[in-house]
């Protein structure tokens, strides 16, 4: 059979071999000495002019991290990471408080131009050719290695009382908010990488939506790793007060290097009564080359706390990059009638290893959660869904529905499902189903008999396979995600 042209083309764009965001930029950087020590943490804290409590918090985390062991339970294999061979801080030299975009290093702006990220508000306002006034606008926080370079639309957001800035700025301007919420969802000692992040986190976004405000535009953060041998440790904190709503998008890329780089982020979401947070990720870190050399180790802790009644947190993720992904965006459904959602598409190719899933912890009454996970493995990759649904004793009438489907493309990849379902309340209704298959002959035959070529049929079926999740993405991301999800079917059909 011939290769599936449409999908193959799409893959070319993202295939491990043809990673289009793999360019490097020569931008002078200010770096911390290599390795990890108390001094490096003091250095980072001093660079950011942090209050004493923040430094103490970091040092405490570091002391605890030293006593912890690297987790080994995930179905991923990699050589031991040498934590002393990483730069924990790297910042473009010219970013010391630029007042406007004009002061930002033009080289840096070029990077974002190449990545297609609009940083100039007027450009965004002007939009692309032919765009109408209704084109949704997106405020962007651009994080380059260890620091946030620029955050757009801050003034307009401020009019609505929305705070959207980098977490370093938030520490200067709203320390009381940061202090109140940081570590309240992901405690310092949560896990090995979260503790490491707590000690050395450098930047990330801070979002605060006041009571009753519906954030007027999509917020987004764009992460870029550029320097060699650096680790990126960002920390994002989103707080939605009573009745607030925010939709937040996150994207990421990195240059092609033959070394493995570490990205250990922590994301904390807090939703009060009736608040809703929608968090979408398109993760496209460099996945390594076709032989599995290089690529990003993406060890991320993401957790949302539905603290208030009737609050809702929805995670949507499209995972196509990274050599290794270790990521479980979770919801703690504390408030009565709160809702958690997790929609995920994980595509792995080449020698990528994905171990991802979610945790839904039902604590409040009448809480509900929904998990839709679609894994597609190709090449020599391994793709694992690992999830926990836990119904607490007091979570009367909790409801969960889980659906994990895996699609295998080729004979050398693996697809695995490891769900944990713990029910401690009899009134809970928990359903879990998982299937693993390749595109069935019946489906193909049906489509072909209706006049589609076999290439078109496969493209149609794959698109249908991931549709549930794509639908959950905000418009802007859905387009990008669809482009990313083209998968190489050469192994199975061509």
């Amino acid at each position: 059979m011939a290769a599936v042209q449409e999908t193959v083309d799409q893959v070319r764009a993202i295939d491990v071999d043809q990673y289009k965001y793999g360019f490097t930029s020569d931008i002078a950087s200010d770096m911390a000495p290599i390795g990890l020590s108390e001094d490096v943490i003091r250095f980072i804290s001093a660079k950011k002019n942090e209050p004493q409590w923040m430094l103490d918090w970091r040092l405490d985390a570091y002391a605890r991290w030293l006593t912890m062991d690297e987790p080994e339970w995930a179905k991923v294999h990699y050589p031991k990471i040498n934590f002393q061979d990483i730069y924990y801080y790297a910042a473009p030299k010219t970013t010391a408080g630029p007042k406007s975009l004009d002061e930002v290093d033009p080289e840096l702006l070029k990077v974002y131009e190449k990545l297609g990220i609009p940083l100039r508000e007027q450009e965004i306002l002007a939009g692309v050719e032919g765009a109408s006034l209704e084109t949704p606008r997106v405020a962007v926080d651009a994080v380059f290695d260890s620091v946030s370079v620029v955050t757009t639309f801050r003034a307009e957001l401020a009019k609505h009382g929305v705070i959207f800035c980098s977490i370093s700025e938030a520490l200067q301007e709203h320390p009381e908010l940061v202090r109140k919420y940081i570590g309240s969802v992901v405690p310092v000692t949560d896990n090995y990488y979260a503790t490491l992040n707590s000690a050395v986190f450098t930047d990330g976004s801070f979002v605060y939506i006041p009571e009753g405000v519906r954030c007027p535009m999509e917020l987004s953060t764009y992460f870029r790793i550029n320097e060699k041998k650096t680790g990126q440790f960002e920390r994002t904190l989103i707080i939605a007060e009573k009745g607030a709503y925010v939709s937040y998008l996150e994207g990421c890329t990195a240059p092609m290097r033959d070394e493995n780089q570490l990205h250990a982020a922590v994301v904390e979401l807090v939703a009060m009564d009736d608040a809703e947070i929608k968090y979408s990720t398109v993760q496209n870190w460099y996945p390594g080359d076709k032989d599995g050399k290089g690529g990003i180790y993406n060890f991320v802790t993401k957790r949302g706390d539905c603290r208030g009644a009737r609050s809702k947190i929805s995670w949507t993720q499209v995972e196509t990059g990274s050599a290794i992904t270790w990521k479980y965006p979770s919801c703690i459904l504390r408030g009565d009638e709160s809702q958690g959602e997790f929609y995920s598409i994980a595509v792995s190719n080449g020698y990528q290893q994905v171990d991802s899933g979610t945790k839904m912890i039902h604590l409040g009454k009448n809480t509900s959660s929904r998990i839709i996970s679609k894994g597609i493995s190709a090449g020599h990759s391994n793709n694992t869904y690992r999830g926990l649904v836990s119904i607490n004793k007091r979570a009367t009438n909790a409801r969960n529905f889980t659906n994990c489907d895996s699609l295998l493309v080729g004979e050398t990849c693996g697809a695995h499902t490891v769900p944990y379902i713990e029910t401690r309340n009899s009134s809970a209704i928990v359903e879990h189903e998982a299937t693993t298959s390749k595109i069935s002959e019946d489906q193909l035959f049906y489509c072909v008999s209706r006049g589609l070529s076999s290439e078109e049929a496969v493209a149609l079926i794959v698109n249908g396979f991931v549709r549930d999740v794509i639908q959950q993405l905000p418009m802007e991301f859905a387009v990008e995600a669809q482009k990313l999800i083209g998968i190489s079917l050469e192994g199975s059909v061509g």
Binding site: H416, P419, N425, S440
Partner: protein, 444 residues
Amino acid sequence: MTNVTRIKTDAEQTLEQQILSPSLAGNPLRAAGRDVFVGKGLPHRRVEEYKYTDLKALMRKANPVAGETTPQALASVVETLRATARAGEIRLVILDGLFRADLSDLAVLPAAVTVTSLRDVLAKGAADTMAVLAGPAIATDDPVISLNAALVSDGVVIEVAAGAMIADALHLVHIVTSATPVSLHTRSAVILGAGASLGLIESYQSTVPGHQRTDVLNVVVGDGARFEHAVAKSDASAIDLATITAVIGADAKLQSFALVTAGDVTRRQHFVRMEGNHSVLSLKGANLLNGRMHADTTLVVEHDSLHCESRELYRSVIDGEAHGVFQGKVIVRPGAQKTDGKMASNALLLSESAEMHNKPELEIYADDVACGHGATCGEIDEGPIFYLMSRGLPRPQAEALLIQSFVGEVVDSVGDVALGDHAEALRDGFTSAIEAWLAQRGAS
């Protein structure tokens, strides 16, 4: 980074003493098991496979090993056996941890079936039988199998000649006569030659509650052979850890069914390797739990051949403060194309304090397969209850009826493979055990 010295619990210390006892010196299985157990101790919640069945916490102390049967007890056993003899059933008796040829119905054993005590087999140490007793590789790391290997006292090895279709069912009767709680460690094996067919029933009898038991059954199903196994676990043991390992050849069938209605801590684990093409595996069971019972069903099914089918279906009904656990893992090895695997665990929670933990896993390395699993957990549906009550049934009876039908679905499969002639009697037995459990529920 951290060096932790393992603190041995009372139970672990007693077990170690038992393992090192010179009376077990003649057991060639012991050495490996002993090293593993002394090194790791009882499995606990940090051991992934025992996350929900923390034996270190559940097993506070180890009972003394079962001693010799007293003459009075023996006489009573002989009497009971005589009274309960049934046509078409050949009983093999394991009394207080030892296989008793004198009490077994060996006189009516068909010529194609050979029955030897495990002690004799171990004394001979024939390489092929020893390989059977080692089980498939997926089972080698299990700490309970190691503990059993280290402490095993006896068991029975059943061999069926190629092509022999055995109409009578073998019935392995485990009897404990001790009037105080003891521990028993037995291991048996079933080896079916090509094209052979055998049905095996297992049951447990004891006079007092509180015994601790590990039992391993190593099965080899030759090409084209059929093996069906049915177990009623109804004695009130303190700890019952039963393992079944199986290696299945080509065009073969294996079915195993277990009904658990009693026992404080019960874990039934299956490690099955599908080695030949076009074979069919069916693992089914029902767990009816009340009080503070804890029942764990753990399955590892390894597909390493083409066109095989596996079906796993377990139903749990959980009342009181009981805990149910289901862990099922289906592994499809590279190249095991056209595998068709389906696994389901359904649980009914009858009380507020009942708990169920489900962990159905898939590990798949071949692309042309259809594998799925489902797990559900919830209360009895109010709709059917309302229907039955509106037809005049009082609520307890309506519930009982729905529970019976929920569990009945798995019981119905008994007899599908090789126990055909006994199916009706067996199903009746299971049904009355279910009714007894329900009656007990109604009474409390």
